[in-house]
Symmetry: C2
Subunit: 338 residues, 2 copies
């Protein structure tokens, strides 16, 4: 891939590189005639300034590093969608890194992003990350960082999350109002913020309705490929009359397990996190669904980060931004309790 540079143009037109550079940047101190000559020639040769040279000079890359647990996940791929839309519109490129839910790999990939001179980082923490000292040290070195979705209260600086508390509260209350009392909660690993917020919303809803919190109804499921079936089997020994499930994958596993066992559970499943409504409709028409604003979250996080990068601190909302979730209550769910 042989490229044409400012030098080539200068040589061809018998000008100095600085004149060409200025002409291309439309400087006022260049004679219109010369400008025309240069721009026309550049156009004809399809000249593109070398962004790498620029980066070196300006000491910035115009690249945003995004670190997510996994790409092949509806929520994150939609969030990335939102991030890209904003980033590109503001002249940044996006490099995506996966932590694969591992603290070690998260460190490594963040290191990579830093080494690659990303201008800022957008991070959703892995489920095995409890120590954010490393991120703190990067912040101290003035690297702009915005956390989204899976955040940490141990880290200062802007965060963007969904209203996990509110969403979980609403979903749980929905089940209670349908007459359920022993609502099992199948959720993600306990480290991550969203798990804690959702658990908290679940407990608050129980409390509001005078239902005692029963720890034996709560199960944490890892990510890997660990099957959901045994967990459901185990939960069933506590004779729950409903399930509040904390992710798409878990919900599908839960439905699958229950179907295998021949257990019909009309109106007794609620879910937070589903992003494909048609699938949800087909899978379980009576299941209430709390939808997270994935793409919007990405957009807002990206905006915050870019404002930070560009020093527009005043445009950065202090600390945590909480985005509303949207609950979809299924018809049948309201009508046929029992």
């Amino acid at each position: 891939m042989d490229t044409i540079t400012i030098k080539d143009i200068a040589r061809a037109l018998n000008l100095s590189t600085s004149t060409v550079s200025r002409a291309l940047r439309d400087s006022h101190e260049i004679k219109p005639e010369t400008k025309r000559l240069v721009t026309e020639y550049a156009e004809r040769l399809d000249y593109r300034p070398n962004p790498i040279a620029l980066s070196l000079k300006e000491n910035r890359s115009r690249v945003i590093g995004v670190i997510v647990p996994q790409i092949a996940n509806n929520f994150f791929s939609q969030a990335i969608n939102g991030i890209e839309a904003v980033a590109y519109s503001r002249g940044y490129h996006v490099i995506i890194f996966q932590s694969h839910e591992s603290y070690e790999r998260e460190q490594l990939t963040i290191n990579q992003a830093v080494a690659r001179k990303a201008d800022g980082l957008l991070i959703s923490l892995s489920s095995n990350t409890s120590d954010v000292a490393y991120l703190k040290s990067l912040q101290d070195k003035k690297l702009p960082i915005v956390l989204f979705d899976r955040v940490s209260k141990d880290l200062d600086g802007p965060c963007v999350t969904a209203d996990n508390f509110g969403g979980a509260f609403a979903a749980t209350e929905q089940l209670i109002q349908a007459g359920r009392r022993r609502i099992a909660h199948l959720t993600l690993p306990s480290y991550i913020s969203i798990t804690q917020e959702r658990l908290s919303g679940y407990r608050s809803a129980l409390e509001k309705h005078g239902i005692a919190y029963d720890e034996s109804l709560v199960r944490y499921a890892g990510f890997g490929q660990d099957a959901v079936e045994p967990i459901i089997d185990d939960l069933l020994e506590q004779s729950p009359d409903a399930f509040f499930v904390a992710s798409d994958r878990l919900a599908i596993g839960c439905l699958s397990a229950l179907r295998k066992l021949g257990i019909a559970i009309p109106q007794s499943i609620a879910l937070i996190g589903f992003t494909n409504i048609t699938v949800a409709d087909l899978l379980a028409p009576s299941m209430s669904t709390v939808v997270q604003p994935a793409s919007e979250m990405g957009q807002i996080a990206a905006e915050q980060l870019i404002n930070l990068i560009e020093g527009k601190q005043h445009l950065v909302k202090a600390e945590t931004i909480i985005l509303p979730t949207r609950m979809i209550v299924r018809e049948s769910s309201a009508h046929q309790p029992g």
Copy 2:
């Protein structure tokens, strides 16, 4: 983000930058003592070579540009997964671009990737791309390009695809063997290669079993948000006795539409493209599924590209690599014809 450079080290240790550079690269012509001094100091200050400066010097970015129609799509996000695994292991980074199924945006993003000095491009064509002259001109400029999944026969060079013909053939034959004769085919836009290959497999299977090809049983659906329901309604007027559907999204739309109409269609749906088997099981237990090797496709495409970039032409498989698909035949599908 203040960074430490080779210069800082040189100054601190009273050495020249060249000595430091050589020491860090473990050159034999540096005294062990000096080496130790330098590496220790570098370690302590957490020195990282600036990849941008290196890129400028070596005239390459170690970045691979990936252009896909959309990220938020199971198939592509899994393919990207495979691409990243290979790319990172070989020292490349990946920048992802979306064409959003638009020819114009595809051109723009490819331009971006080129301007950003990507060392090579991995492309899955948008559904509106029929003219690949632009890509050809890039190839002529010696830019390594590998197409995957949605390829073009108008472009020379390596391609990686799934065995769409074979998969479609098998799926169609499966329906025929279950006693179906009027098999509708709901598929993607007609431009893209996978549509043509699948149509061809479908037709071959019909032909083999002496069933006349009936154009009125075939429908092309765009991507956008165009509802599948009206298409199904329309198709039903041709009184099909089975459906062979060409993507996850279309399959879900198809199932949803049929359910709304109260039409039960045991053993009469086959699908190519599904990536989440559990969901498929739950949605339609009798549906046969042809699974595409998404991640593997990404891996192989990335390998090919990197070999091209690094001049290992002899390691690049000539022209098209076709990966086998995997068909999952559901129990019920085989037993209860009719």
